[in-house]
């Protein structure tokens, strides 16, 4: 009897002291989680998606990209203009304060831009800053940013990763083992709608509402009092925490789990588009070999592949949600993207006919390289098998496959690209068809057209140049674009939240119902 009571008491004590407490609306705290850990919570010095999200909450940029219209709105800058092809001028807003009370000025913009663009600054994603030559204060409230080259997509970066820090903060950086300043150690001070109040590397990051956030910001005024990010490494454990109430928001829920969560009804399940595109690349340039035994050199073979695969069926049955078939080597909302390119419908009879005309009446064998969502690649293999193209799957980690793609070995590969959420064709087509290591097309007309689009600030000239490049890529089938991905989000019914295609959840626009 005594033992039984002790056990019951122990269980009760455990239940009372358990920290599986309900989160959310009750204590005005939004608990969200991803599977990745964040050890450095500063922009520039960490490039994981979670840091990108936290950056948007804690820091402001000079401009803000509207999530619906993709136009650039004033944020810390009240206006901007192109002085010439390589110079941007910004008028700086008055009356904004950093989280430590310090007023925001033009000097802070100059200090930030000049520091992060230095080659030895330690910035991880160099493409975010490598376009900057230097910044200069040209008036009490005016800053000019000088570009190294004509780069019209610069505004994507100004409104994206270029968070503004207080000018004096860089001097507080700790020194690393070699005595060099490690700028990734400075305090997380910004002007954003949330203050970063606690960072436990690899475990949790806490944000609190900035009650003094400046009025009139296109980000709006924050509603939720506290936001806590936690790393929960296992996706199943995340779902369990959502079900138990200790998490309010998760994403990247696999389709089958999302369908189950919808059935249970314990949380909202929403699918939103993402800018990530799945594609099949084919070795048009003959990088894997220029002999007769390279089937990819034959355009009828490439067309056969395009007609052999039912992309709509793959999207509907394997990817689901807001995923859509894409026909062009870009994401539809990206500046310069067009769907007015040659399209290929699902027609396996046509595929077989084309293969026969190409000299492969019985098909041929080939390797296919892939690294992600194996069922999608296997579905592709199944479709190709039906028309006679026998594929041998080489499935590996992204980093390993990238090496094979770069050295020309992966003549036929199924990969994806997210464009770093940059809403400009230069972030995708110019990356893959610029004659570089990722280019399996190596078409000079495409290279020239992309260069024209990348280096001209006239939007109409850019659009025309990109259309030319994308049309050629589609015609030659250097890529068969497959589909754009969707992402499943699941969150408590108490939360009013809308996801966006750039995969950056904006909790500063969310509120409790």
């Amino acid at each position: 009897m005594k033992t039984k009571l002790m056990i019951a008491a122990a269980l009760a004590a455990t239940a009372l002291t358990s920290n599986a407490a309900l989160a959310g609306k009750a204590d005005d705290t939004l608990n969200w989680s991803t599977t990745r850990d964040v050890d450095v919570a500063l922009p520039y010095f960490n490039n994981v998606r979670e840091t990108v999200i936290l950056t948007r909450h804690t820091w402001d940029n000079l401009l803000y990209r509207d999530t619906k219209t993709f136009e650039y709105k004033p944020l810390l800058a009240t206006s901007y203009k192109w002085v010439d092809n390589k110079t941007l001028e910004f008028k700086i807003r008055d009356g904004v304060k950093f989280h430590n009370g310090q007023p925001f000025t033009a000097d802070d913009v100059v200090a930030t831009y000049n520091l992060v663009s230095k080659p030895d600054s330690g910035v991880l994603t160099k493409r975010n800053v490598s376009w900057i030559d230097h910044a200069e204060k040209t008036g009490p409230n005016t800053v000019r940013v000088y570009l190294k080259n004509t780069f019209p997509a610069a505004l994507e970066y100004v409104s994206g990763p270029m968070a503004i820090f207080p000018k004096d903060i860089w001097a507080t950086a700790k020194k690393d083992a070699k005595g060099k300043p490690d700028y990734g150690t400075v305090a997380p001070i910004g002007t954003g709608p949330y203050k970063m109040t606690k960072v436990v590397p690899g475990e949790r990051i806490e944000l609190e509402k900035n009650a003094d956030y400046w009025k009139g910001s296109p980000k709006g005024q924050p509603s939720i009092g506290k936001i806590v990010f936690r790393t929960v490494s296992d996706p199943e454990a995340q779902i369990a925490e959502l079900l138990s109430g200790s998490l309010d928001w998760i994403w990247d829920v696999p389709k089958d789990k999302a369908d189950q969560l919808k059935l249970i009804g314990i949380a909202n399940v929403v699918s939103a588009p993402t800018m990530r595109v799945n594609y099949l690349a084919m070795d048009v340039a003959g990088r894997s070999g220029k002999g007769k035994d390279n089937p990819w050199l034959n355009d009828k073979v490439r067309k056969a592949v395009a007609h052999a695969i039912d992309r709509e069926a793959i999207v509907k049955n394997l990817v689901g949600g807001a995923a859509k078939v894409v026909h062009s080597a870009c994401y539809p909302s990206q500046f310069g993207c067009t769907s007015d390119v040659p399209k290929y419908n699902y027609d396996p009879a046509m595929a077989k006919k084309l293969l026969a005309e190409a000299g492969y009446p019985n098909g041929f064998s080939t390797d296919i390289y892939a690294y992600r969502q194996r069922p999608v690649t296997e579905a592709i293999m199944g479709y190709l098998g039906k028309v006679g193209i026998k594929t041998n799957l080489k499935y590996m980690q992204y980093k390993a496959l990238r090496g094979f793609a770069w050295d020309g070995t992966a003549a036929f590969h199924n990969m994806t690209w997210g464009s770093y959420s940059v809403n400009d064709v230069s972030a995708i087509a110019s990356h893959f068809f610029n004659g570089g290591r990722d280019d399996y097309c190596r078409d000079q007309s495409v290279i020239d057209a992309l260069k024209k689009g990348d280096t001209n600030t006239d939007p109409e000239v850019r659009k025309a140049a990109y259309k030319q490049a994308l049309t050629t890529v589609a015609k030659k089938l250097c890529w068969l674009p497959m589909f754009s991905y969707s992402k499943y989000y699941s969150f408590t019914h108490d939360l009013d939240f809308t996801p966006t295609a750039d995969e950056i959840p904006r909790f500063f626009t969310a509120k409790w119902k």
Partner: protein, 305 residues
């Protein structure tokens, strides 16, 4: 005994060296480390800078020698991702893994020794079969699956225990059970076999004949002798648990060496990966060495052969 000890020590050192060579080589053969470190979208110049900066342009043997010399001094380099000396990171995370390992072993012993004793006391009965079944289920059940079942029952349905994190002692209960259950069959069967052997021996018959209470015969005389080989097995099992904690730590988001290994693999943080492999291998080698020494001490025949 000294000769045996030196021989085992030499073998242990050789194993440690081999592990370091294999780990070092395999990591560098898994792809271009410079490209992996430079990150997606890095230019050719960025990659070459990383290659020269981290010495990846040197021959593999040169790289390994340089690393070995520093490692022998306790310097495992600096984490590219965390910008912190690797030894500091290992020291910070190791206690969580050690606590998990010890708790898991404790659970395994608490479960398996009584089961083994019961099975030995009532051999070939329903009690014996039930005890064996409980133990064997532990080995048959994948630990990740069992962990998820525990999460569903205790985390979601009953809401008694926290599902993730390492903030309190409660966070270690489910992971310890999930990790420890796997070791139960081996310990249980060894206990059972040892007890059956001891219970049929002459000195136990004498003890019973002298009128000693069954509990005294069982615990004071029989179990104390039967449990000795279990001690050395436990040392080996602890080594397995330390090395196998990666799955459990990831599921429960415990910030130990296992979780760190998983994160380092994802980030291509070679220095950390190497150090973890060597650290965990060293733990295992030391525990196995101690187990060998204990066995040799207890059974002189082992030393001779």
């Amino acid at each position: 005994m000294l000769r045996y000890t030196l021989k085992r020590f030499g073998v242990a050192l050789l194993v440690a060296l081999t592990v370091s060579v294999v780990a070092f080589t395999l990591l560098r053969l898994s792809g271009d480390p410079a490209a992996a470190l430079a990150g997606e979208g890095a230019t050719e110049e960025d990659i070459e800078y990383v290659r020269k900066h981290y010495g990846f342009d040197q021959p593999l043997l040169t790289q390994y020698s340089a690393w070995l010399v520093k490692a022998l001094k306790g310097d495992f380099g600096v984490s590219v991702y965390l910008k912190t000396p690797v030894s500091e990171i290992i020291f910070e995370r190791a206690p969580t893994t050690l606590i998990l390992g010890l708790c898991a072993l404790s659970f395994a012993l608490i479960l398996s020794i009584p089961l083994g004793v019961l099975a030995a006391m009532y051999p070939n009965t329903i009690i014996d079969r039930t005890a064996l079944t409980i133990a064997v289920v532990g080995q048959a059940l994948p630990s990740f699956f069992f962990a998820l079942v525990l999460i569903i029952v205790f985390g979601v349905w009953l809401r008694m225990l926290p599902i993730s994190g390492s903030g309190s002692w409660l966070n270690f209960i489910m992971p310890s059970v999930a990790l420890g259950y796997y070791a139960t069959p081996a310990i249980m069967r060894l206990t059972r076999a040892g007890m059956m052997d001891v219970l049929s021996s002459d000195y136990i018959r004498t003890a019973r004949a002298k009128g000693l209470r069954p509990r005294v015969v069982l615990f004071k005389h029989a179990l104390r002798n039967a449990i000795i080989p279990v001690v050395s097995l436990s040392a080996v099992q602890l080594g397995f648990m330390l090395g196998g904690s990666i799955v459990i730590e990831t599921i429960f988001s415990l910030n130990g060496l296992g979780n760190l290994a998983w994160q380092s693999i994802q980030r291509s943080d070679f220095e950390v990966m190497q150090a973890i492999v060597l650290t965990v291998a060293s733990f295992y080698i030391v525990l196995t060495f101690l187990a060998d020494m204990l066995n040799a001490f207890l059974d002189p025949r082992i030393r001779v052969h």
